[in-house]
């Protein structure tokens, strides 16, 4: 049997998977994965309301010894076109990266680039 490699898990989550979950299921899933030390890249990010709820849920989960919070970075919402606005199509949030704050550090973010670094063994023991 092959020996399991130790390392940092980096999971890319499809738009389809996220669309199949309700907002609360999505937040629960993200926080569970991140608490287990996984870094997630969401193909389809969170709405501002979901982001706020994720911060609130994160604060409830912080225990100071094993989990100090999250690092999150995403691009703004896609701009709705004329016809989308007329027909009330909701603007879609774009790709977002979320990980445990002791592993993932946001270096720089602007409209075109999110720069992160991964620091194994930093922060939480």
């Amino acid at each position: 049997m092959a020996k399991k490699e130790k390392g940092i898990s980096f999971n890319l989550i499809s738009r389809q998977k996220l669309n199949d979950l309700s907002s609360s299921e999505k937040l629960k899933y993200i926080l569970k994965e991140v608490r287990q030390g996984r870094i997630l890249v969401l193909e389809h990010g969170l709405t501002p309301t979901e982001q706020t709820a994720l911060i609130e849920n994160t604060m409830k989960e912080i225990d100071h010894d094993t989990f100090i919070g999250i690092e999150m970075g995403g691009y703004g919402e896609e701009k709705a076109g004329f016809f989308q606005r007329v027909f009330g199509v909701i603007k879609k949030p774009r790709m977002t990266v979320i990980g445990p704050a002791h592993l993932l550090k946001m270096i720089h973010k602007d409209n075109d680039k999110i720069e992160t670094t991964i620091i194994p063994g930093r922060g939480v023991n």
Binding site: Q51, I55, T58, I68, G69, E77, A101, M106
Partner: protein, 221 residues
């Protein structure tokens, strides 16, 4: 009283604001930790009521419970805004008690307590978003404006159709770049200020009266 006397200085804009806008608003001061929210709240209160809101510190998360003062009247000469001002704890996505120990020299017990209270403060700030009419979002003009906290707060308020005024604070620092903030969030008014020295707060008050006095249909979630 003749019709022309109504149009004298102050009266006309006051009538317009009464008919079309809000005369009494609940305004929240929001932002990440250590950007100068309480320093700004203290300045506003000191200048318009002679009171103060709370203590300030270089250590992040000094404000860990929301504080508010009611019926503060701001006047820009032509019209005025009466507001309840809420100073909220800094919003963060992570809180590490070791940072208080290693960077700011607090002992372990103090650090853990501060971190615990800070997490509760973030939750309280987020819950206050449900109950406010407008936000002064304080940003540190010496730092990168595209932080997730700034983006999240702005996105959340835009979704509710609530007015946002960005106070680009710490303009007295050499490395401050208010132009970066203006280009980052062109859809909202950005006023460069120094809450510490009082630089340009007159402009901030004028913009608050104009911006928060406008009539808007707040979306409830």
């Amino acid at each position: 009283m003749g019709i022309f006397s109504i149009f004298k200085r102050g009266k006309f804009s006051s009538i317009i604001q009464k008919v079309f806008g809000k005369k009494h608003a609940k305004i929240g001061i929001y932002g990440p930790p250590n950007v100068g929210k309480t320093t700004l709240a203290n300045r506003i209160l000191r200048e318009w009521t002679g009171d103060i809101m709370g203590s300030v510190s270089d250590i992040p998360h000094e404000t860990r419970r929301a504080k508010w003062k009611t019926n503060i009247k701001i006047d820009n000469g032509g019209s005025s805004l009466v507001m309840d001002l809420v100073d909220t704890p800094g919003i963060a996505t992570k809180i590490d008690f070791k940072e208080f120990m290693n960077t700011y020299g607090l002992n372990k017990e103090e650090s853990r307590m501060r971190a615990k209270e800070a997490t509760e403060g973030v939750i309280e700030s987020i819950r206050w978003l449900e109950d406010i009419d407008g936000v002064v979002l304080v940003m540190d003009a010496t730092k990168d404006p595209f932080t997730q906290v700034n983006v999240t707060i702005i996105g959340n308020l835009e979704a509710r159709n609530l007015p946002i005024l960005i106070a680009a604070n710490k303009i007295d620092a050499d490395e401050a770049s208010p132009a970066t903030l203006k280009s980052a969030f062109p859809q909202h008014p950005v006023v460069p200020i120094s809450a510490l020295t009082g630089y340009n707060t007159e402009d901030l008050y004028n913009t608050m009266v104009k911006h928060f006095g406008k009539k808007r249909n707040k979306k409830r979630r």
